[in-house]
């Protein structure tokens, strides 16, 4: 009897240790894809993409800026052969959901469009400026810098503002790097990014974490082969749908009385937890809460399963403590992007959507963070 009892107790206490074992499939597939990619690299390339897991400098080496100005680590798609590029994108396709991969590719396409067409904002074009006319009397035409023409060196403008040489824009200027060795048991990181993109993916056993991640686009609305593309368009549409589903008193709490000119917790602001503002999830009805989760899903769903589902479970659990705050115009034409800033903040979440003042409806930066778990800090003992 006594032995039986103790045996049962031991089994009960230890069972959870082994349950986790089933979830490894996804991580193993990611590790395989990562190793397949690494196997295509030359020794020299490999040395360039691999960093120590605890390399804090490389970890934080990301930005919204083009890579010509803020150099990233690792190697770019441009520096790869075609099979290497394919293996790299296969890896991205394995670690990201189809939605996430599409978003990444559309952000890259936006950079191609920018390279070819520059900023299209002509006189009177673009959205209304939130700040009024620029001070100093410069009321003239806004920037028309067309990047580098295909095959042409030296854009207009030339001296002064030009890049210090090298390429500025294009879908191949996206860099891949690894911190630590891809492993199904040991923690490691995969980074992929360039202009308007910084994916920081930490994999620790069966868990995958996307925070901190920056997405964005300029143009945020363009045509490719006759099709309209909005790389971060659903982020705009879904948030607006939530705002419009709020009743008047809720909206009063959600809409802030002041302007928010940019990301509060952008690049370099790791681990900061600001006091939340806006409308609390506990004051939303079920339908509104579902809409809020739907907005969050645009970021939490970038990673593949089961990482995305685990994150969603956490988001659902935090929902009542999650705030939604909005600043700026509360409407926009269908099919275009909002020109307002919004923030979603919960115990394990900060999402910011920040239109940039040079072209509010066509230039967006977004930030996705977990102040308690940026770079998987909660999973990995330092």
């Amino acid at each position: 009897m006594k032995r039986l009892l103790s045996l049962a107790a031991v089994v009960a206490l230890c069972a959870p240790v082994f349950v986790n074992a089933q979830q490894k499939n996804s991580t193993e597939a990611v590790v395989r894809a990562a190793n397949d990619f690494l196997a295509t690299l030359s020794a020299e390339q490999k040395q360039k993409v691999m960093y120590a897991f605890d390399d804090a400098t490389q970890r934080a080496r990301w930005s919204n800026f083009p890579t010509g100005f803020v150099a990233r680590g690792g190697i770019s798609l441009k520096q790869m052969t075609v099979p290497q590029q394919q293996a790299a994108m296969k890896l991205m396709g394995t670690v990201l959901s189809p939605m996430g991969l599409e978003k990444v590719n559309e952000i890259r396409q936006a950079d191609d469009d920018f390279k070819a067409n520059g900023s299209k904002r002509g006189p009177g074009g673009g959205g209304p400026r939130p700040q009024g006319p620029p001070p100093g009397g410069q009321g003239g035409p806004p920037p028309q810098f067309a990047g580098r023409g295909p095959g042409g060196a030296g854009g207009p403008g030339g001296a002064g503002g030009g890049p210090p040489g090298g390429d500025m824009f294009g879908s191949d200027l996206y860099y891949i790097s690894f911190l630590g060795t891809p492993s199904a048991t040991q923690p490691w990181m995969l980074q992929f990014g360039g202009h308007h993109l910084a994916l920081n993916i930490t994999i620790a056993g069966s868990q995958g974490v996307l925070t901190p991640t920056l997405t964005g686009a300029q143009p945020a609305l363009f045509k490719l082969n006759g099709k309209r593309v909005r790389p971060v368009g659903r982020e705009s549409d879904k948030a607006l749908a939530l705002l419009q589903a709020l009743d008047e008193s809720q909206r009063k709490q959600a809409v802030l009385s002041y302007q928010v000119a940019d990301l509060v917790l952008g690049p370099g602001q790791d681990g900061k937890k600001i006091a939340p503002e806006g409308l609390k999830g506990s004051k939303m009805n079920e339908q509104q809460q579902a809409l809020l989760l739907d907005v969050i899903a645009e970021w939490s769903g970038i990673l593949t399963e089961p990482y995305a589902a685990a994150r969603m479970t956490q988001m659902k659990a935090d929902l009542k403590e999650t705030y939604f705050a909005w600043s700026g115009p509360t409407n926009t034409e269908a099919g275009t992007n909002i020109t307002a800033y919004y923030r979603i903040q919960g115990p394990h979440l900060v999402i910011e959507y920040a239109p940039q003042s040079d072209e509010p409806g066509n230039h967006v930066h977004t930030m996705y963070r977990d102040p308690t778990n940026d770079y998987g800090s909660a999973l990995v003992k330092p």
Binding site: K2, A9, V10, A159, Q259
Partner: protein, 439 residues
Amino acid sequence: MKTKLAACTAAVLLVCSIPAWAHRIDEYLQATILSLEPNQVQASMRLIPGVMVAPSVIATIDDNHDGSFSENEKRAYADQVLADLSLSIDGQAVKPQLDSWDIPDASHLRDGLGEIHLEYHVDLPPGTAVNRTLVLANRHLSGSSVYLVNVEVPQDRTLHVVDQKRNPRQSVYELDYQQVGTATESSGRWPRTRAWWDGLQLSSLFHLGMRHIAEGTDHLLFLLVLLLPAPLLAVGPRWAAPATVRQSLLHILGIVTAFTIGHSLTLTLAAMNFVHVPSRPVEVLIAVSILVSAVHALRPIFPGKEAWIAAFFGLIHGLAFASTLNRLGMSRWDRVAGILSFNLGIETMQLLVVALVLPSLLVMSRTSAYAAFRIAGAVFACIASAMWIAERLFRVQTHVDTVVNLIAQRGLMCSGILFAASGIALLLFARRSEEGVKS
């Protein structure tokens, strides 16, 4: 007419030469994040000039117009920014104290890439106010600037943000917050001593100590496992008869005290930098200490010497506590007081935990179900510590932390269940306890 045309051309040229990647063009972004502490408010300011305002910002910094920033010019600019701020606390004007400034080269700013970083703090006027109001107004280059002001969620649990108000531009910011549970006694005679004392943030260190035990599950597990056989007497190679309540209590008191003495000693020595031990072997040894005490709970290997073992391993656990204090970067003498309150926090939490499980252990040890419970607990601790050892020694990944944390997070509930279980055990097995002793 001609001059107008020339001016226009110049403006167009200027505009055309602006690189399009410059996201901020004609604004000077000034973003502030405040952090509240019991006795001061710290502010971290980022100033980012857009390419069109950069020339005027550069001209403001570069006083002698030689194209580069000297150290004096940088410092003078930082002072100027602070002079353009107005800060008040509870209606009383306070002066910001510059802590650090980091100003990139002029060329960086000109390209729209540079970020200026300033850190400053204000000391709070001593007061007994519970509700405090801080107002921050920023007039620096207000013609071309946009502002962001936010406050971090206070680390100190006595501080609570109540409300934030801003004007539409965020150039005026009002923060209402509550400060509860701080020392409210006036100590006007020793303002300096008090400022020093308060500056140590003893209460937050006390909380840190408590959290360290509550979250440092390996320390807790060691202590709990060591307590498992404490209500029993060893007879030969086995655990047998329950000791009397008085014996058990004395025994437990001895173990906890010995552990405290042990870790206080090394915590003090290490925190004062008298000894330095790398953290990995310490972490491994802590896992070993759990294994040893778990084996002891199964079969007495050092009966009657638990207090010595507790003291010995306490020495090791103290080294781990010290690494937490080390990371806080206090000066050596501030540490003395810091260690004291940190240690008090550890003791308090420890005593709370002992107080929670002790009644259950004592009750259950009078029943025959205790053997099953003791063995189950010890085996669990064996497995957990073996996994910890593997993790820390060979850097492999296991799920032990997840599981142990899962239990620890529900500590109150678990101890409740334990108490209920001990009650049930008393009802069901009490009569048979005599037989249990004999068998």
